[in-house]
Structures are given as structure tokens and as C-alpha cells.
């Protein structure tokens, strides 16, 4: 898999290149600022883009803005954003950029759990989502009266794992539930969030997206 990487810390950049190489991916370009990222993605047409949020020159959110530009320019291009902290607005912007997945937003520390990190990369590259558990936790505390409040604690847990991008089997494993039980919980979540079956397979993403949207529209 061909990857473009944007990260301004040399140490982390070199480490990530090594890590990706060891996992059978090829880093076709590694840059250290947002402009370079846009150029590299244009030139190499990668299968996955990994970018840091904070990058020069202003060290605020250029990486994220570049990711959003890329999603507009190349619809469906899988993008994984790494950040020092997680902020649901970033996640909302990212997910809102396309409902068809292929986005990930993880805390930088997650890189340390190599296997899980690589899993998340593959998931994003194949059109799935990978949201950091902390983002989901933040979304759940937002207290305005939205449909999320109707969910039971168990359904919250299921939604959280769903938002992280796990499959039904993965959720079942994490919560020690049968796949059938997971499916039932997910069905309840869809009903409570008013997602009709007509909307098809993307309902998993839509479920997460829905409350992200509720949050990001004031």
C-alpha cells in the first residue's frame, strides 16, 4: 500500500516510516508541512494519507485543514489524522467531509500499540473509520438534548466501539457478547437515532456522524 506521510517531528516521522515498512506498506513521500502534503498527495496519488494536525508554520491545525482539502480534491481518499489531543470538532469536520468512511482520527500515543495502529490504518485504507476512543467519550458527555440521551449505557458502549471502527465480531469480543446480541444493540441504536434501513450499509458511519453533526451545528 502506498502511503503519504506528513509529520513535522523528525523522530516520529522516521519511526512511522520504519513501522509502515515493517508492516508491508510503502511510504512514497514523507513531508513536514501542509503545503508539501498537498503537493505530495497530488503527485503520488497514494492509497492512504497520514497527517499530523499541528504543523508549521502556525502549529495549530494546518494538517487537519490540508486533510479536508485533500478529501475535497480526491473524494474517497483515505485520510488518517494523528493528533496530540482529540477534539470532536476535528472529528466532525473530517467525517462530515464524506459519509463514505475512509477517515481516521487518532491520538498520537496510539502509535505505540503497533498492532492496533496498523489495524486502524488498514481499516481506514479500505474505506472504514477509526475514531479514537477519547473522541467518542467526549461526544457522549455533550449534554444537549439529542437522541444520544435515549441510549442505554450498554448501547453507548456499543456505539463507542462502532465509532472506533470495530466490526460486530470485534465489538462482541470487547464486550463479551454474542454477535447476535451486538446486532440487536446496533439495531436499537439505529432506531433510537432515527436511521431507517433504507440508508443501507453506511448506517454505522451515519450513526456516529449524526451526533457529530448535532454537535458541530450550533
Amino acid at each position: 500500500m502506498r502511503v503519504v506521510l506528513a509529520e513535522d517531528s523528525v523522530l516520529l516521522r522516521e519511526g512511522l516510516i520504519r513501522l509502515l515498512d515493517a508492516s508491508g506498506m510503502t511510504v512514497v513521500a514523507a513531508v513536514d508541512e501542509a503545503e508539501g502534503l498537498l503537493r505530495a498527495a497530488e503527485e503520488h496519488r497514494p492509497e492512504l494519507v497520514i497527517t499530523d494536525v499541528r504543523m508549521p508554520p502556525t502549529h495549530t491545525d494546518e494538517g487537519l485543514r490540508a486533510a479536508l482539502v485533500l478529501r475535497r480534491q480526491q473524494p474517497g481518499l483515505p485520510v488518517l489524522v494523528l493528533s496530540q489531543y482529540v477534539e470532536e470538532r476535528y472529528a466532525a469536520q473530517l467525517l462530515a467531509s464524506a459519509a463514505d468512511g475512509g477517515v481516521g482520527y487518532l491520538l498520537k500515543d496510539r502509535v505505540a500499540d503497533v498492532t492496533e495502529f496498523i489495524d486502524a490504518l488498514r481499516r481506514v485504507a479500505s474505506g472504514g473509520t477509526a475514531l479514537d476512543p477519547e473522541v467518542v467519550a467526549q461526544l457522549i458527555v455533550r449534554g444537549d438534548s439529542h437522541p444520544l440521551e435515549r441510549l442505554t449505557p450498554r448501547e453507548h458502549e456499543v456505539l463507542q466501539l462502532m465509532a472506533e471502527g470495530r466490526s460486530n465480531a470485534g465489538i462482541g469480543q470487547a464486550l463479551v457478547l454474542s454477535e447476535g446480541a451486538v446486532g440487536k444493540h446496533i439495531g436499537n441504536i439505529f432506531t433510537k437515532l432515527d436511521l431507517s434501513p433504507a440508508e443501507g450499509d453506511h448506517r454505522r458511519v451515519l450513526a456516529v456522524l449524526q451526533f457529530l453533526k448535532i454537535r458541530s451545528s450550533p
Binding site: 517531528s9 523522530l11 516520529l12 519511526g15 512511522l16 520504519r18 513501522l19 515493517a22 499541528r54 495549530t60 491545525d61 496530540q84 489531543y85 482529540v86 477534539e87 470532536e88 470538532r89 498520537k108 500515543d109 502509535v111 505505540a112 500499540d113 503497533v114 498492532t115 495502529f117 477519547e134 467519550a137 467526549q138 457522549i140 458527555v141 455533550r142 449534554g143 444537549d144
Partner: protein, 386 residues
């Protein structure tokens, strides 16, 4: 005012202050007159005279007269106020010394009135006979009254002297006003500087140690995942190192958050607080209603309040849920933290709440706490954010 007893140290210090005041005042008044005529003496002398008087107040009365900057020329009002004091103080000193000396003297004479009764020939001729018992009693009563009066009078005279000195040697009202203004400014400066320093440390940690640790943890993770054919002890060592690196990373992240979360700089209170609320071990309902961002310092204080309050609730309140609301109304930022815990939080009990109050005080905010035993607890904070 507590009436000093004649045998108390206070009484004697006051008396000494007043009595020594007279010769000192006379000497300094003379010197001051010379100084006015000979300006070079004025420049060096006047501050010296003032220092001398100030030290007299400090030694005998324990009263500190705040020093003022003396320009040492006759164009300055400060100079003239000082000259005024040095010329006026002999008058005050004389009145004081005479009154105090007379009362103490009267007391001694009166109390010793029984002595002349034994003396054969009275040294002075009085209309009445000092050997008469009734006269002696009257004298002794008067002496006793004077004895009780003397310390009060000494106190009063010392206070009068101090009042005049404070007025003329200390800073004037407008100077005090200016000083408060300067202090307020410098306090704000110190707070802003401390806040900027926190941000700098956060940035340094983020750019340095944190990246290094992430890289270390990643490399260890990589080793753990790839070096599966190592002997058991070596694999165990790598696993342990990996776990420790991840733990260190988590601790560092929590520390940086407590210090000054980067998200606060970049995204403001709303984002930073939702992170804090999400990490609380109980559900937190959060409302943030801020149209325009407030200053970094006020943001930092508000963040600190909420994060400390939630930490306190987690530690002590046994609460099932909490509510946080932050609202900006014109030039005030209202922060409210409410929980359904066991209550009984007191300002003077732990250090947590006191720390909050201090942070709030430092920026001229107000803090109200309502926490009856059995709960609920509400902390309301009002911060200026013009």
C-alpha cells in the same frame, strides 16, 4: 482600644517614644531649617532626618510608615510635606512630652504624698497641712488617677504623633491610588507571565519529551511485534519496557493537560472543557456559551476551575453526575459547577478549594460556594473578561 496598664511594656514604650521625640524633633527641626537655607544639605539630609523619625516609630511603636521616594528638591510636594513634618514635630513633641511628663510626675508625687507626713518640716508652704490624713488620701487618690491616665495619655500622644507622621511622611492618597494601580498592573503582568510560562513548558514538552516518548514506545512496540522468536526473558523485558513507555506517555499527557492543555490554546475553552468532562469518572453535562473568546489568562483560570472542581468531585463528593456551564455575558464570564454528591465542601478545609479561590482572586473574580451537608454542591465563579 485596649487601655494599657501603667506597668505594661506598651505604656513605657509609648512614654519613651513621646519623651525622646521632643529632643529629636527639636534637633531635626533645627537641622531642617539649616537644610532649607543650604540646598545641598537638603538633598542628603532630609531623607536622613525622615529615616531617623521613621525608625523611631518603628522601634517604639512597631508602626511602619511606608517610605516615599524623595526627590530632594524644593519643587516637590513630597519634600515640602517632609519639611512640614520636621518643623511641626517639635510642637507636637513639646505638647506631648509636657503632658506625659506632668501626668507621670503627678502620679509619682501623689502616690508618695504619705511620705511628707513623716517629714518634720515641709519644704514648701501650702494652704493646707500635708500631714493631715484626709489631704494625703486626696493626694494619693489623685496620684492613682494620674497613674492610670498616664499610659492612656502617652498612647494618645504617640498616636497623634504617628497620625501626623503618616500624613506628612507617608505616601499621600493620590500616591496610594497610583501605587494600587501599579500593583494591579504588575500583578496582572505576573499572572500573564506565569500563564505564558505554562504555555511555553507545555510547548517544550510537546515538541521534545512527548515526541521522543511516542517514538520510543513505538519502537518498543515494533520490536515486540516483530521479534517473536526471542528467548522468553528478552521478550518479557521488551514487553515490560513497552508497557512502561506507554504508561510514561500517558502520565506525561495527563501532566501536560493539567499544566496547560494545548487544545485550550488552539481551540478554546469549549474544546478543552469537553476533554476534561469526558475524562471524569461520572457523567458530566457540559454547556459552553461563549461567542467571543476571552483572554488566554481568563481562559486558563476558567479551565483550571472546572478541571479542579471535577477532580474534587471525583475525590470527595461521591457524585452520580455533575453539570458544568460556562457563559459569557458582556464583560463577565460565569462558570458554574454543580454536582449531586454528598456536599459538606468547605473553603477552609482542603487545599483544593482554597487554591481555586486564590486563582479567582488573582484575576479579581468572585467565587461562591454552596455545599450543605448531604449535598448538592454548587460552585459559582464570576471572572472579568473585558
Amino acid at each position: 482600644m485596649k487601655v494599657p496598664r501603667p506597668w505594661s511594656a506598651r505604656a513605657w514604650l509609648d512614654t519613651a517614644h513621646v519623651m525622646i521625640g521632643l529632643p529629636v524633633a527639636v534637633l531635626l527641626a533645627g537641622s531642617t531649617i539649616v537644610a532649607i537655607v543650604v540646598p545641598p544639605v537638603l538633598r542628603g539630609g532630609l531623607p536622613l532626618f525622615t529615616r531617623l523619625q521613621r525608625s523611631r516609630f518603628e522601634v517604639f511603636l512597631g508602626a511602619r510608615i511606608p517610605p516615599v521616594h524623595t526627590p530632594g528638591n524644593l519643587r516637590s510636594a513630597v519634600t515640602w510635606r517632609q519639611i512640614g513634618y520636621h518643623l511641626l514635630s517639635p510642637v507636637v513633641g513639646l505638647v506631648g512630652a509636657v503632658l506625659v511628663a506632668l501626668t507621670w510626675g503627678g502620679a509619682v508625687v501623689g502616690l508618695l504624698a504619705f511620705l511628707p507626713a513623716r517629714i518634720e518640716r515641709p519644704p514648701l508652704q501650702f494652704e493646707f497641712d500635708l500631714r493631715d490624713g484626709r489631704v494625703v488620701v486626696v493626694f494619693m487618690a489623685a496620684g492613682f488617677a494620674l497613674l492610670l491616665l498616664a499610659p492612656v495619655l502617652a498612647r494618645g500622644m504617640a498616636a497623634l504623633d504617628l497620625f501626623v507622621a503618616r500624613t506628612l511622611l507617608g505616601p499621600s492618597r493620590s500616591e496610594l491610588g497610583q501605587r494600587i494601580e501599579t500593583l494591579t498592573e504588575s500583578r496582572a503582568g505576573v499572572i500573564d507571565a506565569a500563564d505564558a510560562e505554562r504555555r511555553r513548558i507545555e510547548r517544550d514538552l510537546h515538541d521534545g519529551a512527548q515526541q521522543r516518548l511516542v517514538s520510543l514506545a513505538m519502537n518498543l512496540g515494533l520490536a515486540r511485534a516483530t521479534l517473536t522468536d526471542l528467548p522468553e526473558p528478552a521478550r518479557e523485558a521488551i514487553e515490560r519496557a513497552h508497557e512502561e513507555a506507554k504508561q510514561a506517555l500517558k502520565e506525561l499527557r495527563d501532566f501536560v493537560r493539567g499544566l496547560h492543555p494545548a487544545v485550550l490554546n488552539d481551540q478554546g475553552l469549549d474544546a478543552a472543557l469537553s476533554g476534561v468532562a469526558a475524562r471524569a469518572p461520572f457523567p458530566v453535562r457540559l454547556r459552553v456559551d461563549i461567542e467571543r473568546r476571552v483572554t488566554p489568562t481568563i481562559e486558563a483560570v476558567a479551565f483550571f476551575i472546572v478541571s479542579e472542581a471535577l477532580t474534587n468531585i471525583a475525590k470527595h463528593a461521591a457524585a452520580k453526575r455533575a453539570e458544568v456551564s460556562v457563559r459569557r455575558e458582556h464583560d463577565r464570564l460565569h462558570v458554574l459547577v454543580h454536582d449531586d454528591g454528598c456536599g459538606g465542601a468547605r473553603m477552609d478545609a482542603g487545599t483544593g478549594l482554597r487554591g481555586l479561590a486564590q486563582r479567582v482572586d488573582a484575576v479579581d473574580g468572585t467565587l461562591r460556594l454552596s455545599s450543605p451537608l448531604g449535598g448538592p454542591t454548587t460552585i459559582e465563579v464570576d471572572l472579568p473578561c473585558a
